[in-house]
Each structure stands twice: as C-alpha cells, then as structure tokens.
Symmetry: C2
Subunit: 434 residues, 2 copies
C-alpha cells in the first residue's frame, strides 16, 4: 500500500493542490524579491475586514484568528505590503475592532496600512475604503478579502494591469461542484453546464473612476444585499470585467477546516529550509554533512555554515537554525545564535526554530544526560520563547556499530524535521534523545 504523508508533495504535485508561488515568499524575505514588474500608474488596496462574527456566532472573526501567534489579517496585509508598486492599503474594520487593528499594525510593524471604520454591509465598507484612499483619476484600486492571505505578486500584477486596460478585472476559479437551480419548494430545477461558469474570487481591480462611479450610482438595495463588485461595474458603468484564472490558494478561509488548511500552508512555507551552524569544528562539520543528507531526504533543505558572521549574516533570513556541537557540551554557541537572531529582529512575523544538536562522545545513553544540561536548556528556552524563538535540544550518541549510528542519525533527522514542521510551543526546552 502506498503510504503518503498527508502534507507531502507526492499527493498532487503540480496542479490545483499545489499552493502556488506564495509560500516561497511568506518567509518575510522582503528584500529578496525576484525581479519586479514595472507598473507606471498608482495602485492602492482596499481590504474589507469588517465582519464582527456576530451574525455567525463567532467569538473571534476569522480575520483575527491567529496562526503561529499572528492574526490572519496580518498575513494578508504583508502579502500586499511586500509588493513594491503597491502604494497604500486601507483596511476597513468594524468600529469595535479599530483598536485591535491598530494594535496589529503596530505590533507587526506594517507600514503602508491605514485602518478605517466600516459600514453596515460589505459594499458600504468597501465604499468607505475607496473614499478613504483619496486616489485620483488614472489610479487603480484593488479590492481583496482579509481572509484570503495567499495572494502573490504575479496575480496582483495581472489584475492591476487588466483593470487599467479594461476598467475592471477579477480573479476566477473553475467550479468544484456542479451548480444547480432549485425550485421554491426545494427540488432540483436544472443544473448548470459547469464549463460555462466560474467561481468569482478575489482580488478584483478597478480604475478609480469605474469603482467610484459604480458606488455613487448604485441603489440602497445594492449596498445592502449585493456582494459582487464586478456586477456593479457592469450594471452602472457598462464595464465587462476581464476575468483571470488565479491559483487554488486564493480560496477564502470560510470554515473551521480552512483554518487548519491555512495553518498547514504557512507551516509548509516556514519549513522549506534551515541553516546548520557548525562553529567551525571539523567533527561538527562532518555531523552537519550527514544531517544535510538525512534531513534533505525528508524535504527540508539545509545550508551548512561555520557561523552567522560577515557574509554569512545573510543566513539570518532563514526561519530555522540548527546548532551542531560535538564532544564538549556547551550551550554558549546556542546562546550566541539566539542573541544574533534577536538583534536582527528576525522573529517579528513568525516564530523561529533553533535546534541544538549535541553529539556526546559516550555511547551510554544514561551517562551523557549530565546534571546541568536539561535544566539549562529549559531555562534558555523559556527566555527565548518570550522573544518568539522556539528552542529545542537533541542529544545524539556516539555508536560503536554502523547500524546503531545510522539509526541515531535517521532519528535526529526525523526529530529535526518534525520540530521544524510542527513548531510546537509545548516541546520547547526538551532535550530529545536520538
């Protein structure tokens, strides 16, 4: 029987199931973008995030639910903020959430963002946002959902340029289910031919003139009950929006299961690669090379470096760090890594993982767990956790036979891979045995 990990790329390698190009950028690598497209007109964004959860009995509206300590809305904001040609972002929130949103903007150091209070319906909120932009003729306004955090620059570019050219543009996806029309008493009336229809998704783009005119002219009933901006542009401006197929990761976080799916995509993105620091020791370097192969085979790519100084300081942009030490058991190297990460303010947007892998000279499991070590790493991890750094230890044992060594090595790899992927706060400070 095929045994496939549920999150493995072996299921669904390169079509709908693939999370698109987003994940390579979630990592906050703002300064390492691929070559950017030029956009020679002003582009602003309105993000309606007005749901209070009241209608649906939610205690926390989904846009404020946290993933790895950070609310969904902050991920969405970051997706726009990292695009250099996007000038400003207006987030429209319910009045009672204004303070919360202001707090999020400050805490995660968002720069292009302003929060404005929403209206009593989705369209009124978007209209408030458009007015708050104060954009002018020639500008393009992108409208997106706060609960669609995985939007990439490529699609934003296509939407913005198509909106500029055609007046309006929107992302679409193929229908997953057949759509059927119902009779008033709950029977099938007819089913639609799936190929002729699409699901209308976000982002959508409009020239400022089109979206402004659409909202100025639309009816109270549109404001109250409508949901589709493309429809208003068609009805009140005669603009047939250009439709652009987006990736499946555009989906809207709607149900509880979507929270788990979003968390999984974020964790995937954060566990792609790690950096192994050897401290320059030859024995540590040998162990690091073995780890590189074993962990690489489990899907996380490792770079091996002696330290984080000089040119290697660029590795501070990684999400995961493995400090390898052999023989002497000493946490000072780990402390140094923690200090450097803190100085670089690298754990602002998501927790970093630091794993201390220590190979003791003894082949006796029991003897190597020395008196001070478990307590020391526990203390160190408690302090690091307050700075959003998750520290774990793995104790590896010298083995006389090759088979035992291979088994230990594969266990280190499995543990490392699981710690990096799961980012479990409960396990910090543990000294695991390999």
């Amino acid at each position: 029987m095929m045994e496939v990990n549920a999150t493995s790329d072996r299921c669904d390698p390169d079509r709908p199931a693939h999370p698109g190009v987003f994940p390579t950028r979630v990592a906050g690598e703002r300064d390492h973008q691929p070559a950017e497209r030029s956009v020679d007109f002003p582009v602003s964004v309105v993000l309606p995030a007005g749901g209070t959860g009241e209608r649906t009995g939610l205690q926390t509206p989904k846009q404020f639910c946290s993933f790895l300590g950070r609310p969904l809305i902050s991920y969405t904001v970051q997706a726009f903020e990292r695009v250099s040609w996007i000038q400003s972002i207006v987030v429209v929130v319910a009045k009672e959430n204004m303070d919360l949103m202001t707090d999020i903007v400050q805490r995660f150091q968002h720069r292009k963002v302003r929060a404005v209070p929403g209206g009593s319906s989705r369209h009124r909120s978007i209209w408030n946002g458009v007015l708050a932009l104060g954009a002018g003729q020639g500008a393009v306004v992108i409208i997106h959902d706060a609960v669609r955090p995985f939007v990439d620059e490529d699609l934003l570019y296509k939407i913005a340029t198509a909106a500029k050219e055609h007046g309006a543009a929107g992302a679409v996806r193929p229908l997953v289910s057949t759509v059927i029309a119902t009779t008033p008493d709950g029977y099938l009336d007819h089913s639609l031919e799936r190929a002729k229809y699409r699901a209308s998704e976000m982002p959508q783009g409009f020239t400022y003139d089109v979206i402004h005119q659409a909202y100025q002219q639309c009816s109270e009933s549109d404001f109250e009950f409508g949901t589709e901006c493309l429809h208003l542009a068609l009805q009140y401006c005669g603009t047939n929006a250009k439709l652009i197929q987006g990736p499946p990761t555009l989906w809207k976080v709607t149900y509880k299961r979507d929270l788990a799916a979003a968390e999984s995509i974020i964790k995937d993105a954060l566990s792609r690669s790690a950096c192994v620091i050897t401290g320059g020791s030859a024995r540590a370097a040998t162990l690091a090379d073995a780890l590189q192969k074993a962990v690489g085979a489990l899907g996380t790519e490792l770079d091996v470096i002696p330290d984080l100084k000089g040119g290697n300081s660029r590795y501070l942009l990684k999400e995961n760090f493995i400090q390898v030490s052999v023989g002497r058991s000493c946490l000072s190297e780990v402390e140094a890594v923690l200090t450097e990460l803190q100085a670089a303010n690298r754990a602002l947007l998501h927790p970093l993982v630091v794993i201390w892998v220590h190979l003791s000279d003894s082949d006796e499991l029991s003897v190597s767990v020395r008196a001070a070590e478990p307590a020391a790493i526990m203390d160190l991890s408690s302090a690091a956790k307050l700075r959003n750094i998750l520290l774990y230890g793995i104790q590896l044992h010298q083995s006389k036979d090759t088979e035992g060594w291979e088994r230990s090595l594969s266990r280190v790899a499995e543990l490392t891979s699981a710690l990096i992927r799961e980012r479990s706060p409960a396990l910090v400070g543990q000294l695991l045995q390999a």
Copy 2:
C-alpha cells in the same frame, strides 16, 4: 490581541466551520451508536474511486493518500459500514488499483465491501457499480465520492428516505463564491443571484429503478462528459430530485490544502478524550485528578480509572491512555496496558496514544533520569509502534514550592495535550521533562 489557536473551537463555534456530528463517530465506536432509525427498504452504496491521478499528474490519487497510516478511502468506507441499515458497498476503482483496494479491505477488515473495476469515465464507473450491486426493485442506491470521508448517518438517512419517496435526492450546500458566466473571450457576461443556486454535493440517493433507467437511456455523450447524476435522473426519468442541505464537512477533498484540513478533522476527533490509569495507588490518583483538571482545561476530557479490568474494560475503546505512576519508576504497568490494547485489537483503524507520566520523588531534574529508563521506554516504544501504538514518556518532578509544582503540572498538561493532538511518530520513546 486575541490569540486563538487555529484549531480551537473558539474560532467558529457552531456553524459552517463546525465539523458536524461525524467526529464523535470516527473513533471506530461501532458498537456505541446512538439509537438508530429504522429503514424498511434495502439500501446499498456505490463509491466511485476510479481516479488514477494520471490526468492530473498525481503520483497517488487522493482517495489512496494516507492519514495517520490509513488511506482516505478506508475512512469513507467506514463511514458507511458503521450504519447498520446499509447492506453493501461497491467501491469502483481503476483496474490498476484493484489489488491495492483489495489489500485495504483486508488490512482494515472492512466487511460490507466489494471492489469492482471502473470504466473510462465517472458515469461509466458508477454504472458499473450499480450493475454490480444487483439490487432490485424497491431498493435505494446511494452514490457518494470516495474523497468525502465525513458523512454522517443522519444525512444518509435523510437522503435514503427522500430518495425512496421522491425517486432521487441529493445533498446541497450554499455557494461560497458568486458564480459568473463568462464570454467566450474571457470577460464577465453576467453574475448569478447567489440565493437562487446551490452547489450540488454528495451523497445522492436514487431508487434502483430511477438510476437504472437513467443510465440505460442516457447517451454516449452523457457517459463521456457528464458529471451530475441528478441531471440524468431529471432528463431521462423526469425525476426532480429532492435537495437536502448537508453540513460543511461534506466537502470534497480536492486540493492539497484539503488534505491538511481532513487530517485536522481526523486528529480533532481522536483527541477529544483520554483515559487515565492510576494502578490503584492513592498518590497516583491525586496526580491523576490534578491532570484531569489541567488537561481538561486544554480541551481533552479525562476519565480516571484504576485499571482496565472488569467493567473498566469498556475504556479500551478510548483513543488515548495515560498511565500515571508515582515514586517507583517502573514500566511494567505501561507494558500491561500495551498488552491489553493489543489483545483488544484497538489500534486497527488508527494509532492509539499511550503516555507514561511518572512523578519522581526527587526534586532534582538530573538525578531522576536514571540509567535504564530512557533506553527502556525507547525500546518499548519501538515495539509498540509496529503495532500502531504511539508511546511517549513524561517525567514530572516533585517540587518543594507550590509555584514550581504548578508550573510542572501545567507543562505536563501542555505536553499531554500536544502529544495526543499531534500523534507524532517522530517523538515516540522520548522521556519528556515537565
């Protein structure tokens, strides 16, 4: 700022996001169903599972992707098998997957299931399945997707009885996105009024006569390109299907993110409750009571019992076990639990979790980690893993001050909760420190 765990019920407590009634039953508690409805006509099921992944470049078709060591199709089969009034299930698979499916049926001891080879399209496969049923007049045939594992008895009952009454019935869901019609050159033509339409989902039910006649009379083009059985019943039998709104958990596992969502629902279901075994010692019972409160506060309900014998053998149906010991450090009690679980064949459908929580008398972290213990629990866990039981250890330390004790206790609770929820194979055999 509100910090909400992505999988917590605090986000989306009781509407779409809630995974419905399924999870209370995923646990394989076949013999503990709520009062069953009576169904006085024969009901059979056809499960098309014919996708080979070829069209989409999948290495493993989604229905054969594994969650916690068990393929998705087995979860779906179980969802039907546990319903007493369902008589037989025909799974239609591609010829090249017949052996795989037969293996799954044997390995997970499915009883009502037969695998038959599929045709070259979805409708041809379903038709093969209907013919293989050999059901007769008066019978109802339920058609479902292999990749919708979370279907509950309540909905199946509604579909079956509505199909019996009206000839055909199908599950529907509200549309999440607006549906739009496109022009041939990729522009918006018009958008549909969302309230008038529904997404057609599965399961669907038909009287045998209706589904048989529909397939006998439908065209080659229907067989080749059609997807909607309700449409065939309408077109060829004049039967307007009764539509029944299903829960959001009916959704079809389509994209990679859906695999993570499905895994999360399965893990939720398996981490609802656990059973604490004290061995009858008064000190262990005191610790168990403290754990009951602390772990309960994190969302897992604990039952405290002295052992699994006599009337307590009903607790063998739990998914998670915590063996508590105080003072003496002895793994024999854990070994006894493992033996009992194995004898009851309880780890057939999903991995069970056994956690050994040991409170040592010493308040010195280092001294308590005695020579033999870590190696012994590692060995025991390796053997248990082969029997689908995940064994972990937690070492708790007597503390002189209340504050230290509270901290340890809350760490045990956090660790226990994380181990039960994550069911990580990488961490088995670890003796974690609390």
